[in-house]
Amino acid sequence: MTVIAPYRSGQRPGPDGFAQLLHAEWTKFRTVRGWVIGTIVAVVVAAGIGLLGTGSGQHFCQQVASIGPARSGADCGLPVFRLGPDGEPVSDSFFFVRQPLAGNGSITVRVTSLTGLLPSSNPNGPPAPTRPGLQEWAKAGIIIKQDTGQGSRYAALMVAGGHGVRMQWNYTADTPGLPGIVGPASPRWLRLTRAGDVITGYDSADGTRWAQVGTVTLPGLPSTVQAGLFTASPDDNQESQHLGGGVNAGGGPTQATAVFDHVTAPGGSFTGGYVGSAEIPGTGGYHQAGGRYTVTGSGDIAPIPAGHGGPADAAATLTSYLLGTFAGLIALTVVAAMFMTAEYRRDLIRVTLAASPRRGRTLAAKAVVIGAVSFAAGLVSAIVALMAGTAITHARGYYEFPVAGPTVVRVVIGTAALAAVSAVLALAIGAMVRRSATAVAIVIAAIVLPYFLAVAAVVPLGAADWLLRITPAAGFAVQGPYPAYPQVTAIYSALSGYFPLAPGAGFAVLCGWTAVALAGAAWLLRRRDA
């Protein structure tokens, strides 16, 4: 009996840590010319398409100039919008029946009616509003304002057309009070009290039982402020959904008339006048008879949302600079899917799995490599797109909608993360279906197609919102640069950078889909023969 010793190689086993696996996968990636070219293509198209959104003809400039008072007639003048205390663009024009309020004090009124006029439903009708009706955010009430300059600090308590009593301050803040429509049978008592920098609002249905609506600190308020009654009524954005194609923004100026009585104010007599100017000359005014003040006004005290169909339609946005992201994602999807499926096509997978028999780890290494490459590609394309877009916009004298610095950083990092997670999703789908074209088609149908259906307004807004909530395309929400304001009527569409989910939530939806796909890929990879 001879025992045959099994053959053992004299070679010492090489290291087989995760780092070696990463190195192997990275070497595979960088040595395939097509994949490197594909990644470069992704960066170029993602950055290049955004440049289309940055500029156009002369009418663009004139359109901007017509929105606000430009500094000079020739150039388009920056800034075009009035800016609020926090640097955000605001509309601040309303009819103000005011008196100076020195030191601490309080103002109380009763609102007994709020009525209004809407633009004529005939598109060729007169520009002035003629149709009886109330804009849902028409507002009338009392306000304490730093001065009569547009964009100054304020706190106001008001009845809104369709939203009951509201307390609003410094343009962006809004909190509800008593619900219900104001009228002679259901009047609303409003009271604003100033104590130092703190302003508190109370409302009441009967003038005896009061409830606090909100309290706000306005630092740096001067000792003498302007206080009084106001009425404003924002433009009516009649967003008619073009069924099966596009959203039409129509509408025009509106006006509102409010009746106040039981006015208690510490100062002397009131003076009336516009803050800003009336959109249609001649609208607005007040008269007083026997303690009843009737105030008519148009305009709005509110932030201006970015994007299409509103007053900021012509302003360049981060969203338009980053428009090319979806095209870059298509290219990255192709590369990422092939990074996996090419292994099957050439039977390389057997070598790969022989070298690294723990299949889950192999998949993880591939995911890390393609994720990192895509993150870098997304980062470069986003930075280039934003810098080039901003430079072109400024060079042409166009207006760029302002955005906070931390938001820009979040959008840039978010774009890179969107690219990385999308690529990992493509890799995982590729590992599951093992056919590159099918994998690419699935990923594009999951990420780009819902985005297309929503952005190109093929489906109605409601359906588009749902697509951007539940499909992997929800991840585009990380690119949303501007907050949506519920107290401002506007078309908050994905095209303008408004997504139905918050940035983090949208990204989490994409990550969830990717995690499920990766788990499925790992399971199938272990279970199936290679």
Partner: protein
């Protein structure tokens, strides 16, 4: 040297060309067999029809009149285009079918066998294009008939009825027939575009990425462009937006191109892609 290069060189070129194209019926038969014996073809055809009809029905069910009332002037709704919304999505599957028909050959080096059997490469490409287009027409017909049927049944219940002044979604109406026929041809042209592009890039993943990028790039860019003149130009040269003009039955005067002209733009894209594919196929080694 030249004399012994090839006996075929001695024959008149004209006869040679004819001899090559006479192989077309056999090539067609070969391509037909290749495609229909693949299980994936049947799955993709069924998926294309099912997805198109499902999306169309969902779009019809989601249609609403809006706050201003149901009159056509108020909604601007085009019941025919709504009924055919599914084509926007179903075209992905049709494109995938076409890409796989070509890319699959390169993926498994089948192309060498194919070209050994049909050495006239353009004959092979023509046969493949014809077969793929034929399948696309079959799937497209089922998909479009289903969509029109769904739209005709659902839309009147959503207020877009003939009683309210909308076009009845029925093939008996001239514009509806045009839109339906045009949509079938649209899907066939998308398939031809995909065959051409994939033959040019010789890889199915890159092919489907390019085709879908080409289709969706223009409408997204046009929607976001602040310059509406440029956006309109972009829409009238883009394969998808121009091609889908054939579905429009409302507001034809506002369209940059007439419906059939729009489909013609897509046909030019498909032709261009096929020519590009043919040139690459002729010039490069398989």
């Amino acid at each position: 040297m030249h004399a012994v290069a090839s006996p075929a060189a001695a024959r008149p070129a004209r006869r040679l060309a004819l001899a090559g194209w006479s192989a077309l019926p056999d090539a067609l038969h070969a391509e037909w067999t290749k495609l229909w014996t693949l299980a994936s073809t049947w799955w993709l055809l069924a998926a294309a029809a099912a997805i198109t009809v499902a999306v169309s029905a969902a779009a019809a069910a989601g249609a609403t009149c809006g706050p201003l009332g149901c009159a056509p002037a108020q909604t601007g709704a085009d019941p025919v285009k709504i009924s055919l919304t599914g084509v926007d999505v179903g075209q992905v599957v049709v494109a995938l079918l076409a890409v796989l028909a070509v890319g699959g050959e390169y993926g498994h080096a089948m192309i060498k066998v194919t070209l050994a059997a049909t050495p006239r490469r353009l004959v092979m490409l023509a046969a493949k294009a014809a077969v793929v287009a034929c399948w696309a027409i079959i799937a497209g017909t089922v998909a479009v008939l289903g969509s029109v049927l769904a739209g005709g049944l659902i839309l009147p219940g959503r207020g877009l009825s003939a009683a309210n002044g909308y076009l009845l979604v029925s093939l008996g109406n001239g514009p509806v027939l045009r839109a339906a026929l045009g949509s079938v041809l649209y899907l066939a042209l998308i398939a031809l575009l995909a065959v051409g592009v994939t033959t040019a890039v010789r890889d199915s993943a890159a092919g489907i990425g390019l085709v879908l990028g080409l289709l969706y790039l223009f409408p997204i860019a046009a929607a976001a462009l602040p310059d509406h003149v440029l956006a309109r130009h972009l829409e009238q040269v883009a394969p998808m937006t121009a091609g889908l003009y054939v579905q429009v039955t409302v507001g034809l005067q506002a369209l940059p191109l007439a419906p059939w002209q729009g489909l013609g733009v897509l046909a030019l894209w498909a032709l261009g892609a096929l020519i590009l594919g043919a040139v690459v196929l002729r010039l490069r080694d398989a």
